[in-house]
Symmetry: D3
């Protein structure tokens, strides 16, 4: 995804959050951070601020929700799979890159646990899109991101079902027709990404 | 919006965030909180946790972004309008109720400043929707919210332009067609809300 | 109490603080907060500061201590009754209003638990008073509060026994005689409040 | 005051809190802490908890308010006198000991600034008292404190005017008559303390 | 150690940190703090900052590590000995004074537990040294500390074995030969301190 | 340095800490962090804990002190050079690797500012060493680190002058002779590292 590079690693913990104890169901969650110099202008460390920024929380909630849609949580037993997504280089689309890499890490962990076949419901992947002067652009880089009238992130499953959509008008509201064009373009992009994920995971 | 009740108040501050100083542009931001007993099961105070939850941050970022789309920020001068949204009773759709009430508070403040006509670009309003067994439901209450396969929040301007869309599959991914039906239903709901906002603001 | 409005709600939790576990005794505690716009000049949220202000802590300790004097804690069993007091509108005397409303919430909760008769030792109520130019004023509003030479808060039980007294010279020290006059005036005020509490609780 | 030992030191800072800037008035404030092993059972450090306990805040607010009553703040100019009160050994009455020692530190600092004569309105001193089985006890130690039905702290000026009174029923409400007896006993105690303060300060 | 005064107290807790539970081994740890006015210029309280400074953490880690070398942790059973070191007056070398006083407190606690003989492997003591114009100075005071080209802290056991060495060039790097001279001077200083510790502990 | 990998980046800021403002002198400081999965067992994020661990603070203070010895701070003007050191993979010696990479980043930044020649006093480099069964081991990996009786980190300048030494007995105190052998071995290691730094910086 351009020059964006995100390290994604899965950790399996033999416990679940309180609200799941005794239910037999597992959990998938994510943590996201940017290295201070992943971006042209240095980003202060959140460990220094003493708390996570709203943007960080929003992103890691999105990653977690998306990945949970890919898996049957009751099939993985009472364990938590924690996906760490650390941005080494940011050139637009870090949150969707984190979903894509996060899925690969998640799948690998489930394979090691011999649970991939029984628990993975569908592959999932994500793309960022923008409307620039009314036209749909797929996978915006840092410069395009600044120019966009609207930003849309789409997460889909393998069959093109929408798992998550987040669209924000930055400069001007967009129409239902434009949203439709965005979805179509997203589907094409996601198809390519799933192909790449399968290659990385040596599936098929 | 059902039994949901949110207190929305605007405060005008004669200063702007650092990144706007000297630009001549103003700013609109929002803070959101739930009273501990606004919900059937008590919600612990964030002042006790020492920091805001991810959900709270996500919601107040949504409110701020939406309201900024309604106003020409260069027309309000270097001042900040801060919208406080405090949920007294929560019965589903508190974030969209906060956008709707927040707009009324914002407009009232701008009117007092004699800036409403010159700065308001469009009215905006928001609705929450759900897909329950594949069908679109508008303005879910607490019980319906639990039953929904997917949750979608839509913010639109007066002409039906999409300002913000956030859709999340809770149980199953949804299709492009279902998303289209959601948008149509959202438009009808938002039309009614804008009528109510106008009545409250005595516009026309 | 003037234009002051405080939402008071009781929550029953089936556990007690560590120091009471295994003793058979229950606990009553309170949390107090002001909505940002309950006051003419906006009060920043404590959830943003990351910790409670000294004033807040002082007030919720006063409410908790006062309410515990009204109840035989060994009669309620190992449970905690948590009283949330949220100030919607502040026009002087919010802490004493919180004690008064808090008692009504506490009593209602105990009635639901069928424990009111066995555990309530006495009703309690509170008033704020001020010395303005040497004279006692009962239940000061926001403007009077500013003019007062001394502020005194008194909590009493039904028989006029003093449960709590907090007196502070703001402008000038006060005399033993003035303190005596304050106590007498407090007793009259508290009698009226207890009548109102009984009406609200439909006692007698 | 028994075995209680509190280190009190004044620091003069050539600035005032924001709300006083440009008013010509000064400020007096206090900070209070207990060493972990000042008490028979170790008290965890507040620096580890990450925030001050309610009790600490309550006490340092009391010390600050009391000391400000002793001084004409407009006479000290736009500077802050910060009184540090650190409890080395705690055997009851640490907050009143801090007021007493704090006044000595404050007066010494004002003398160094050649401002004592022009700014000190009155000496002030404080005592803790208790009602044990209905009788007034002056200056309770750790063991008596536990046995008391009610705790009362009184701060007075040199003429016996009440600067601050804080009374709390621990076991049973107390009567107006008992409060009167407490005040009389407090006056006697405070007279002795002021004599000791004068000796320490070499006044007269 | 000059005018430096540090209060050192041991507290025995019948539990160990998580990583030692069930191992049969005990733990020794230390907490260090400076009173705000232990130093000529006031040091703000860490309880106000909300977290410990790096310097504080560095020092208490040094004290803990040093004291653990003095004791066979498996011989004290699953308990923690916590050493509180509070600086009342700081005139250089507070961290080494804390190690020296901390050992005395630790030994006293072990004696009370009848464990001193079986668990203490060796006495330990510490000195601070400086290189001023190339020459070794032992036990620097506040003024010398400022003038030093390099600061070195050494902790040794009774036989002169090095338990901890921390050397920092402040103005200029130092040579191997200078380090050798420092070690020799440290050994002489530590011998005297161990004599004083023995006297305080009435050993021999 | 084995499999240890640390990303080091310099950021130049046109301001200095408060204590240097107006002195004409610059500042060099460092921040250090480990990615959660840089280590075999996951390290929780410090941004989640809300504050930096003692170990982190100790390390970044060491890096900062060491790098400041390499540069004439008055020659760089009133600017701060901040060195970010992020550990991607940890296999022993991350703090010394951070000093070595940090120096390269620092030098590169000074070169860009055309200040390298006028401000760099000497190259510096660091090695970690251990005593295992009495023998000196240079540049310990993760497994050796666990087996070591003592851990020593040494920072030297190009001429072998000692900039920083930190030695800790883990299992047994060490002798002056052993410390001498450590210094000699450190010198040899540091010579190699400085060669590698020069190659990376294309010096000579």
């Amino acid at each position: 995804m351009g020059n964006t590079r995100v390290l994604c690693v899965a950790t399996v913990e033999e416990r679940v959050p309180k609200f799941l104890r005794g239910t037999g169901s597992g959990w998938i969650t994510a943590q996201y951070a940017m290295l201070p110099r992943s971006s042209p202008s240095r980003i202060p460390r959140e460990s220094r601020r003493g708390h996570l920024k709203g943007r960080t929380q929003e992103i890691q909630r999105l990653i977690g929700r998306s990945l949970r849609q890919a898996v049957d949580l009751t099939a993985i037993g009472e364990r938590t799979i924690l996906i760490d997504c650390d941005v080494i280089e940011a050139d637009g689309g870090t949150r969707t890159a984190a979903v894509n890499g996060g899925f690969v890490a998640l799948y690998s962990a489930l394979k090691k646990l011999k649970l991939a076949e029984s628990s993975v419901v569908s592959m999932i992947a994500a793309v960022s899109l923008g409307l620039i002067k009314g036209k749909v652009h797929l996978d915006l880089d840092y410069t395009e991101d600044f120019a966009a009238d609207a930003d849309i992130n789409v997460v889909m499953d393998e069959k093109g079902g929408i798992v998550e959509i987040q669209g924000t008008a930055e400069e001007a509201p967009f129409s239902e027709e434009q949203l439709g064009a965005v979805i179509k373009s997203a589907r094409r992009g996601i198809r390519k990404i799933i192909k790449a994920q399968k290659k990385a995971l040596k599936i098929e």
